[in-house]
């Protein structure tokens, strides 16, 4: 009972924060609302008793991605305060395409899922961290290494692009 009440509170909070992200007039406010929305999704994972996923959500999305967005805002905008700015630029058709496609995928998945209890064959429960690491480092070891090599290449590339040596 108490869990259900809490679930509804968090669900409402996610919707409110997401609406704030989309409708707020300043990019800074959007970024802050996004943190709230992502943290709410993390709390949802807790209700599903997948603690590890919830913590990863907090760490990656709450702590890393949004901080990156805020940092980028800080470094690139001359006026870093929450003044409204136009977000409709020449990228509008591409943004429409991407968001439309994403919405179609999400609706498709949601409509195709059997939501009755027991409808999903192996619903996630509290999986031990040892099991997760077995899967990640033993069963999917090669993709993991390839992904980290890709990230390393991206990192080095970013440094080369950003760094201007003297005399160039």
């Amino acid at each position: 009972m108490a869990t259900e009440v809490l679930w509804w509170i968090f669900a409402a909070a996610i919707v409110a924060f997401s609406a704030g992200t989309v409708f707020s007039r300043s990019v800074l406010h959007s970024a802050i609302f996004l943190i709230g929305s992502l943290a709410g999704v993390g709390a949802m994972y807790l209700f599903l008793t997948v603690e590890f996923l919830a913590l990863v959500q907090f760490l990656i999305y709450g702590g890393a991605v949004t901080v990156l967005i805020l940092l980028a805002l800080m470094l690139t905008r001359s006026d870093a305060r929450g003044t409204p700015d136009a977000v409709n630029g020449p990228q509008l058709p591409f943004a429409l395409l991407v968001s439309g496609g994403l919405m179609a995928v999400l609706i498709g998945v949601a409509a195709g899922t059997d939501w009755r209890p027991g409808g999903v064959p192996d619903s996630p429960t509290n999986i031990g961290i040892e099991t997760i690491s077995e899967r990640l480092f033993a069963d999917f070891g090669a993709p993991f290494v390839i992904a980290s090599a890709l990230l390393l290449v991206a990192l080095v590339g970013a440094i080369i692009l950003a760094r201007q040596e003297e005399g160039e």
Partner: protein
Amino acid sequence: MMLFADALFGLPNWIDAIIRVVLVILSMTLVVIYLTYGERKVVARFQQRLGPTETGPAGLIQGIADALKLVTKEDIRPKNADRWVFEFAPYATFIPVLMMLMALPFAEDWGVRDLALGMFYVFAILGLNIVGILMAGLGSGNKYALLGGIRAAAQMVSYEIPLVISLLCVAMITGAEKDMNGTGTLNLNAITAFQETRPYIVLQPLAFLIFFTAMLSELHRAPFDIPVAESEIVGGCFVEYSGIRWSMFQLTEYASMWGWSVFGSVVFLGGWAWPFGVDAHWSIQLGTTLVKSFLFIMLIFWVRTTVPRLRIDQLMSFCWKVLLPMSLVQMLMNGFILVYDWPQELLALTSALGAAALVAIIIRRAMRRPSRDLVGTYKTLGAPAQ
């Protein structure tokens, strides 16, 4: 989620949780008030002064008087500040610290909740800490605050990496030790119990040094207090805050210092289990944890009064060129030793050698002659030579 013990007085779970949270918050407030007093006394001692003496016997109620003064002061909001961002920033910094305190084991049965992924929880939650500082920096509508916010974010993001890797080194060892269920663990209570015979600082002195240094940086304590440096950027992101919101930031700073110290003493110094064993009375266990955490804080004050503040480029190069490689070396060494099941003495030996190397590197860097040329960004930008 596990409970630490049976619910207090057999109450329902959620009432028990609320009671425990309130107890932790009350003791946190008390600790913070006396930490400010303690810091002033200790720093005064280091600087051959007296510190507070007038308010109460030996100045003992100075902290309470300061708190009352701060709460009754006017709460000023600058006209061109971004209202909601500015006003919520103190709460956004405080919530992660509070959530961290909820997972710490102060004694075997003492704490709010005993999480299975306790160690991971602590550093996942503390990643959110930066958000509040960034909000304060961006929302104040002040150039100094913005500068402080950028510095804080750059510093905290960088130092989080060696910090997490040094904790991973300990997690590797706890993963190799088997608890009652025959599996490794990230549970802070179990990690403490593993250290009954020897604390992990014996096995991992290098990881401890890296942890302590990165912790100082995450806390913005000297010598890493660049984001809040009074003499350079007049207090950084806190420059526009006053009254109750400023005291929220102070509360957060001292509470997180205490939280980090308890966490560090649990992970590296054996928490409540060493040296009195897991069967000691709860009061002894609680006392052990508190004494260890206050030793930690004493060390922080000591470093603050001894080491001068670093420059921002020194700070960054120290993190990326010294701390990060050293922490990776520690992780590699642990990996080899644990995979091949070599004796634990080897862990202690290699890590001690690494720690000696780290200290040698730090001393060598500190002894280096200052360069006469321009440094860091000024050099890259090609500013005219003086």
